[in-house]
Subunit: 330 residues, 2 copies
């Protein structure tokens, strides 16, 4: 098989369903020129975020390429969700060891599925021959001045988390140990890891209602630490309130509030739920709108003075983790 | 040495001289949150372009890291130049095999130099542990509807190229064969390869004056082919008019119009000069403004009917290359 970069782009990527629909006035030019063009509507700001996923570090190289593609876009969109931004478009830097038709077909199909689901077309990028690696930059729109930042949490705010935690991280652990997720009792884990749900709808609901937000990619405690540091506050979380995923409870057992399951949920990344700090006068409205959208929100603690994030069990003892979250180069 | 991703970002990248200056209203938020924010001025569109540079494919891994950084940003900015866009900001996806202080210091110094020179600060990105690879997305501003595209060349337009061609490609050839560029007679080659000059000023001059433009990264004939295909036209170039770099003439000798030097200049990429098609009524004004800015522009041919790009020698014979330009996966 001997395809040039241009052949690959034309055959697998510059295709209906992946690129913007004709007449999209916000994206007057996409793939095929020196640059793509974006025409940002008046009153909006553009939010951008870039993430690199490397084979066998951030995903498994022998994974179904459609699932690799879907997950790669989803985890990037999670950063838009955390700012309250609406997806607009993405660029893709793809390094591939070889131009293999079945892999490229699967990858572009998975991407097409995600593009349709999140209404976020492909507008450009680069394809190179190298170790399998995916760099995606997502671009989203948010009302001017309305983006949710990490730095605005205030003492007295309440801390919430969306969804349930730990399933994706458990899936990664099992996969790393060569175990399969294709057994019936592991469906929830398979879904959690391969089909993470960027909390875009929740992000939109949060605009104007939360003081700070972050998506949980490094682990709940580690990401809470980012908000704390950037806002100049501390946090106190209640272990018994942490919403641990059912599969984590089932697999890790021991459901006391200082159990392995809770510790796992505090340190596992990859769930891409949102961690929020909310002013007390906004809590009722936020809960109401989340409920109307069938989004689970759990109150897990409060913002306090100081600079540390602590999670306490019912006896008031701090739960100490061996490892606070995922960090490269550590 | 054990630095986390956050340590590396803080120590080498989230630093004055690299990030936007405080009070930059077009970039209200840069490194440190889930996304960066851009506030595009009224009447402007955003031009974006992403390129990946892999060690030992697009650059040499043992190169001076400051030169790697400078070149990586410059070649990306060349895509903005080709659209007539003004640099605004860039994002960086950096994969590194290890967190080595001297390399990171050199790389960030080179980047700082380029940021200052091109007025294009760093607003975000991602650092991962893997084989050395650099993905950069550049963002630029252009007046709404004024971006120069590849698709608008028309029969009768004149073809121009900026600068001189072939020096950077010759440098790559010498380096690949283990030869040094640090000898006195190779200074021009060293500069051409390690310090390519994105033609940003020329790009701005071209807005409203040229019908199509592309930066020459794949090679003159290959890139002319992109304009021809996307505009639905052909081109006829004159071999004797091609501005061959002095160093190429010196090293490759034989300066007839069907010589190795001309063939090299037709196929070499990496110079990042601009190839332009110009309506005849705009030629005088374009030449005048280019001259005022001390930019060399050479008339090398014309846009004709058809779909092929041909370069003819003085006898009217087509010059045939073995290899039309740089293509991955071919």
């Amino acid at each position: 098989l001997s395809l040039s970069e241009f052949d690959i782009i034309g055959k697998y990527f510059n295709q209906p369903g992946l690129i913007p629909e004709p007449g999209n006035t916000t994206i007057p030019l996409a793939i095929g020129d020196d640059c793509a063009l974006l025409d940002i509507p008046a009153g909006k700001q553009l939010a951008v975020s870039m993430d690199t996923l490397l084979a066998d570090l951030h995903f498994f190289s022998n994974d179904d390429p459609a699932l690799i593609a879907q997950r790669a876009l989803a985890v990037n969109l999670s950063d838009l969700a955390a700012m309250g931004a609406v997806p607009l478009a993405f660029t893709l830097g793809l390094s591939l060891p070889r131009a293999e038709d079945s892999w490229l077909k699967g990858f572009s199909e998975g991407l097409r599925h995600a593009v349709s689901r999140y209404q976020c077309p492909l507008i450009g990028g680069d394809i190179t021959r190298g170790n399998l690696a995916i760099t995606i930059q997502v671009h989203g729109l948010v009302d001017r001045g309305a983006a949710i930042r990490r730095s605005q949490a205030r003492v007295g705010d309440t801390v919430y988390v969306s969804g349930e935690l730990g399933a994706a991280g458990l899936a990664v652990g099992l996969l790393r140990n060569g175990m399969s997720l294709n057994k019936p009792d592991r469906h929830e884990l398979h879904q959690a890891y391969y089909d993470p749900q960027p909390q875009l709808e929740l992000g939109r609901i949060c605009v104007g209602k939360v003081s700070a937000a972050i998506d949980i990619s490094d682990g709940l405690l580690a990401d809470a630490g980012h908000i704390a540091r950037q806002s100049g506050v501390g946090m106190e979380l209640e272990a018994r309130a942490i919403p641990v995923a059912k599969a984590v409870k089932r697999f890790l057992g021991g459901l006391g509030d200082n159990s392995g399951g809770v510790k796992h949920a505090l340190s596992a990344g990859d769930d891409y739920q949102l961690l929020l700090t909310v002013k007390s006068e906004q809590e009722v409205q936020l809960q109401k709108e989340a409920e109307a959208s069938k989004i689970k929100l759990t109150r897990i603690g409060k913002v306090i003075k100081g600079s540390r994030v602590r999670c306490l069990d019912t006896a008031g003892e701090e739960i100490v983790l061996m490892r606070a979250g995922f960090q490269h180069f550590s």
